[in-house]
Amino acid sequence: MRVKTKQRLQVRESIEIAQGVWSLVLQYDAGSAPDTVVPGQFVGVYPRDGARLLPRPISICGWDEKDHTLRLVYRVVGGGTREFTTLAPGDAVDVLGILGNGYDLAALTGRRVLLLGGGIGAPPLLELAKRIQLENRKAGRDGSVTSVLGYRTNELFLSEEFSQYGPVVIATDDGTVGVHGNVIDAVREKNLSFDAICACGPMPMLRGVKALSEERGVSCWLSLEERMACGVGVCLGCVAKTTKKNAHSKVNNARVCTEGPVFNAADVEI
């Protein structure tokens, strides 16, 4: 089996889990399912309308190895995601994947990992929480996962699912639930201890997270977003600025779709 494919998958489930936030479960055929999926990787979902030709990058929120089902959780922001909400079980959708580099599970095993998810940044961290727990059990090590999830309002999508894997701290912009403020405010207020950070969310949050990791002297991985065209590393549309010359580009640019979307915070200028 090839590592990357464009395949037509069948919709198993499509439900709105918060206002404008949808959970979409897609079925791979056993024979053409990916061998491995690393948390932090993503897929490109193709709209059907001929006016919209580029794949929409969406992170993997869940991967069921046995059932070969992929779960995506996305927010409706434009025409493509609006179109996805019309998908119903049984419908077909074209998916490019599995794309990008995910989190370094080996480096996270046996450590006290802090997951920081801002808004629609939470979904990829859910699969990560699950896999870190699994790896810890496999290795018989007692690392832990603490999730700090930031929301705009009291629609705390996915937060219950995170609580399967460890303590969950909530921060809300409007103060209706948990800490009034963002995820970094919550980390400080709750005085959390940790050896490593994995974060996904809007750029200002990621900048704060990087600063926090430097302040605490812990390793930190960030999931970056950038506008993409190909999703597979050929167009050079999606670059992030790197601190050192990148091996592929020979300049200070790394492709978010290929070298990323997960980067060690120390390696990127954000």
């Binding site: 090839r2 464009k6 167009c235 549309g237 999606c238 300049v251």
Partner: protein, 299 residues
């Protein structure tokens, strides 16, 4: 299905459009490069180029804008890594060359003379995303003629001049390339466009403008290929919005001897193979002895 351009024979008329296929490394997971007429590589300059700030790409209705700004690792790394990778494949290799100045173009061409894996050169005098050079050569007939003849003098490989659509008369520029001694021309490069984010009230691309590609530009590309083919005797490589065999056949009827598939790869990484298969079917259905029998038959 084979075609010959400037003495170089390709298995079929289907090439990749520069900048939309890297050097084939990534898409070789999807298509067998051995099946392609040619791989046309991303524009390469004498030294590594950083390209433009992000955002560099934007989707538009039926297409996309890009303002990559010709990021590339420079001809040295390109030759050692990308040309080396291509040694293992039985396809033609066309290297797309860019530069800010005449000297830069010439130094890349010179460096490529040593490389056996280079079957042809495609000179990008039409990239709209580089401020200092490129596009200037592409819109002024005398400058185009001049740089063509200078490159022609030092290149042992056939030279394809790639024309911009952002001109009043593409025929005039095709003639200038011909006068300068080009072995072939390719067109169209992207059409300059702009997208504005109305909620944030700012340009979507950091570069403000970007080059438009995709099916939306196809009818314009067909017209320009037709105009160029009517103006010069040179073989033409037609591109712009080709996303299936029908689009490719249309280009050939308009006057192209070969075609290149660009942004369509992003919509479907298998598209080049599908275009080849569809053209083979067409040739059978229309009992063509050679696929080139249809080139420019509409005049």
């Amino acid at each position: 299905m084979s075609v010959t351009i400037a003495g170089v024979t390709m298995k079929n008329p289907v090439m990749t459009a520069s900048g939309t296929f890297g050097s084939g490394i990534e898409y070789s997971e999807f298509v067998d490069l051995n099946h392609l007429g040619a791989v046309v590589t991303k524009g390469v300059s004498n030294v590594p180029w950083e390209g433009n700030p992000v955002p560099r790409v934007a989707e538009v209705y039926g297409g996309m804008l890009n303002a990559i700004g010709l990021q590339n690792p420079g001809v040295e790394v390109f030759a050692e890594r990308d040309l080396k990778f291509l040694e293992d494949f039985d396809t033609r290799v066309i290297v797309n060359v860019c530069g800010h100045t005449e000297e830069e173009y010439l130094s890349v061409v010179e460096r490529l003379q040593e490389e056996k894996r280079v079957d042809m050169l495609e000179i990008n005098v039409s990239c709209p995303n580089v401020k200092q050079g490129g596009i200037g050569f592409g819109t002024k007939p005398d400058m185009l003629c001049d740089i063509t003849s200078k490159i022609r003098k030092i290149a042992r490989q056939p030279v394809i001049m790639k024309l911009t659509p952002n001109v009043t008369s593409v025929a005039e520029l095709a003639k200038a390339a011909e006068a300068g001694g080009a072995d072939a021309i390719s067109l169209i490069n992207t059409i300059t466009g702009m997208k504005i984010d109305i909620e944030r009230q700012r340009f979507v691309l950091a570069n403000r403008t970007g080059g438009m590609s995709g099916p939306a530009i196809h009818p314009i590309a067909v017209r320009m290929v037709y105009e160029a083919a009517s103006a010069v005797k040179l073989p033409i490589i037609g591109m712009g919005g080709i996303s299936n065999a029908e689009d490719a056949i249309e280009m050939m009827l308009a006057g192209a001897t070969a075609v290149a598939v660009g942004a369509a790869n992003f919509h479907d990484p298998y598209v080049t193979q599908k275009v080849i298969d569809g053209m083979t079917d067409y040739a059978k259905r229309h009992s063509l002895e050679r696929i080139t029998d249809i080139v420019g038959i509409l005049r």
